[in-house]
């Protein structure tokens, strides 16, 4: 009897620890409305699969640091902890597992490499690896034959003792390299094809406050050195878009500037350029990114809120990777909150996904993000895996709407944006999208209505201008004539009246 009671008690106790199982997706989507408040949205991307090294019999990845997809949809993973490069083809079959490289009869190995770039122009196919701890960049083919090793270049602007730690790089068509170096903060190091130093490129501007100038005059060097120094922000990653512009992400966000840009309008271009999380660098190193969205591309806006929609991590986004597709959409990886933010070419926030967790389809310590067709891949380094996210119906509709607009299929674009709106009426930019298509179709009145809902004064103004041209346009001459004619007739009428009074009453009373 006693044993029975014990058993019963035990089973009751067990019941206490039963956790109900949830079948809901692991994360809830959200988007920011024009008032900068997060509102629920459908998930645009959802976990589809993950790729781990053990599945291919090559052992798990260890702290992989970079991932690139080339034009043939081959996937290159820089498995930094294992000092190797792993290559998969477009069917995700293992193609290469390189940990030894041959160079002029010697064998080279990597030492904690951080960056990877695939050069694919004019029929050439070369892999550049930033072999960070070995202080060099090697250029190899898929078989591990290295044809070039770039070591530290001579740079007359910096101390010759400074070590050379290349972390990320891109290579342009003329084989010039743009390299992020860990301890050089003057922008990207631009090297010629032969490895000689060309210039620093796209240095982030630092501004020095007037107060500091005065302090420098007053203080002794010892005192001044105690003040927090103004160091230019370093780029965290670089990538090329299909037109040859460099997109560079910045991990550190200046908090003051971050908050200062909140109330900027899309037209305040200079003010918005102050907060830089990403730059689009033209050939002369100037920033030409369009920031015409409702808010600048800074990731999460309410950085200290603890709403249920966002994770309870405080602080601004720290963007460690960026990827651009051929339609100008770019996705940025926020390693602070483990999220991917995707923006269109104008800087409108399209969707947010990702969550810091141990579940499948979430990531704790992401290192790289890349577009893979219409999928988005995230490289996770703590539980090393490549995580594949595929677009949901909702995400697919957004992508298609933007692509259709870029390729000139305005009707399709409008249809897709309408579909988006059916799934998420919080999606303000969808109204802008519908409006833009209507402008192209000549329905200016309808477009104005949509832009008003989207709270997009700039486009509203353009649509209004076109509408006025359409409505008045050639009739303007007539309107002008009627107004001027009416005025003249009235003046003549007054004169006549005066004249008749003059005839009736004589000079004195009239004048």
């Amino acid at each position: 009897m006693k044993r029975l009671a014990k058993l019963l008690l035990m089973s009751l106790l067990c019941l206490l620890f039963v956790v109900p199982a949830f079948a809901a997706p692991p994360m809830q989507g959200y988007i920011y409305n024009p008032d900068q408040v997060p509102v629920p949205a459908p998930m645009a991307y959802t976990f589809s699969r993950e790729l781990i090294g053990a599945d291919y019999g090559i052992g798990n990845f260890r702290e992989p640091q970079d991932m690139v997809v080339d034009k043939n949809m081959w996937l290159y993973i820089l498995d930094s902890g294992n000092n190797r490069l792993v290559v998969f083809d477009d069917k995700l079959k293992l193609k290469a597992n390189l940990d030894r490289f041959r160079y002029q009869g010697e064998t080279l190995t990597l030492n904690n490499p951080k960056g990877l770039y695939i050069y694919e122009y004019d029929g050439k196919h070369m892999i550049y690896i930033a072999d960070t701890e070995n202080q060099r960049i090697i250029r190899t083919d898929l078989k591990g034959n290295v044809d070039q090793v770039y070591t530290k270049p001579y740079i007359d602007l910096i101390d010759p003792e400074t070590p050379f730690y290349p972390t990320k790089l891109v290579v342009d068509r003329a084989e010039r390299m743009y390299i992020i170096c860990r301890n050089i903060n003057r922008g990207l190091v631009k090297l010629n094809a032969d490895g000689t130093f060309n210039s620093f490129f796209g240095a982030p501007k630092t501004t020095i406050s007037p107060l500091k100038v005065i302090l420098r005059l007053i203080f002794t060097p010892e005192q001044y050195s105690r003040i927090e120094s103004t160091v230019p922000t370093e780029y965290s990653n670089v990538t090329f878009d299909s037109y040859g512009f460099i997109y560079a992400s910045i991990a550190q966000l200046d908090r003051m500037k971050f908050f200062a840009t909140f109330d900027t309008k899309p037209t305040d271009k200079d003010a918005r350029a102050q907060t830089t999380t990403v730059r689009k660098l033209a050939a002369d190193g100037t920033d030409i990114l369009i920031r015409a969205g409702m808010f600048p591309p800074v990731g999460d806006l309410s950085v200290y809120s603890r709403t249920s929609l966002e994770t309870a991590v405080a602080g601004e986004a720290r963007f460690h990777d960026i990827t651009v597709n051929e339609y100008g959409m770019y996705a940025m990886l926020d390693t602070n909150r483990c999220k991917v933010f995707t923006y269109d070419a104008e800087g409108n926030l399209l969707y947010i996904f990702g969550n810091p967790s141990q579940q499948k389809g979430t990531f704790m310590q992401p290192t790289a993000v890349t577009f893979y067709g219409d999928q988005i891949l995230v490289l996770e380094s703590r539980n090393p895996a490549v995580i594949f996210f595929r677009p949901t119906d909702y995400g697919d509709a957004i992508n298609k709407a933007i692509i259709a607009y870029r390729t000139g299929e305005y009707e399709l674009s409008e249809k897709m944006w309408t579909k988006v709106l059916k799934m998420n009426s919080n999606m303000t930019i969808a109204y802008s999208g519908v409006g833009k298509s209507k402008v192209r179709a000549g329905d200016y009145k309808g477009a104005m209505h949509d832009f008003r809902i989207a709270q997009n004064p700039e486009y509203y103004s353009r649509a209004l201008e076109l509408y006025m041209k359409q409505a008045i346009g050639n009739k303007f001459t007539y309107i002008f004539l009627i107004v001027v004619g009416g005025f003249l007739v009235y003046q003549i009428y007054r004169l006549v009246k005066r004249f008749r009074r003059f005839l009736r009453e004589g000079v004195k009373k009239v004048v």
Binding site: R452, Q455, P457, E458, Y460, S461, R462, L464, E465, M468
Partner: protein, 210 residues
């Protein structure tokens, strides 16, 4: 009726000849308090009209549906009456000649340019892209400056002040308005605390003693 129309029409003469105009307004009985009240009513209409019908580009904070006529009414009439009361309170002490009725009348007539420019501008703003923003603010500025000038000259004429005294007085009037608002809020706050106290007292009595 015809009388009021005639008095209203006088405002069109007045805005171009302020010194003569205000003198005649008071001494020749060219205007009346009734007409001034009508003008004030038109001002209320204007503020409603502006909120509701100004083009989206120049009215971005307004969502198109949340218009509150009562609050438009109170803000317009309230500010106007506040101005008149502060004006009267100060000018009585400062040897002003105008009565409260005069002040009311002069102030209402002085705001005519706002009406004349405000209505067409609100209407036209629907057809003005952002490039015309400068024109929009220019017209608004003209309306405000013109009305302000009329207000000053009206004050000058109706109280028989010198120019410097007029300017000093109008600054003091604005300060006076602020003081009135402050006193009003203080009074409101104290009263509500007093009422709260008595309600609390009543509850204590009812719950504990009875």
């Amino acid at each position: 009726m015809a009388q009021i129309l005639k008095e209203l029409k006088y405002s069109l003469y007045l805005i171009f000849h302020p010194f003569d105009g205000f003198w005649d307004l008071k001494h020749e009985k060219r205007g009346s308090r009734k007409a001034a009240t009508v003008l004030l009513g038109i001002l209320v209409l204007l503020s409603i009209f502006r909120t509701q019908f100004t083009g989206y580009l120049y009215n971005q904070e307004y969502d198109g549906v949340s218009l509150n006529i009562l609050s438009e009414f109170t803000t317009t009439v309230g500010t106007f009456l506040l101005w008149c009361i502060a004006n009267w309170s100060l000018t009585t002490l400062m040897d002003g000649e105008g009565s409260f009725g005069d002040i009311f009348m002069v102030s209402a007539y002085a705001l005519t340019p706002m009406i004349l420019i405000g209505f067409p501008l609100a209407f036209l703003s629907n057809a003005m892209p952002l490039e015309y923003g400068a024109f929009y603010s220019l017209m608004n500025g003209i309306a405000v400056v013109w009305s302000g000038f009329l207000m000053l000259s009206g004050l000058l004429v109706v109280h028989q002040y010198t120019l410097s005294k007029t300017i000093l007085t109008s600054i003091l009037i604005v300060v006076g308005m602020a003081v009135i608002i402050f006193l009003g809020l203080l009074f409101f706050n104290l009263i509500s605390q007093l009422i709260g106290f008595f309600i609390g007292l009543y509850r204590e009595l009812v719950l504990r003693i009875l």
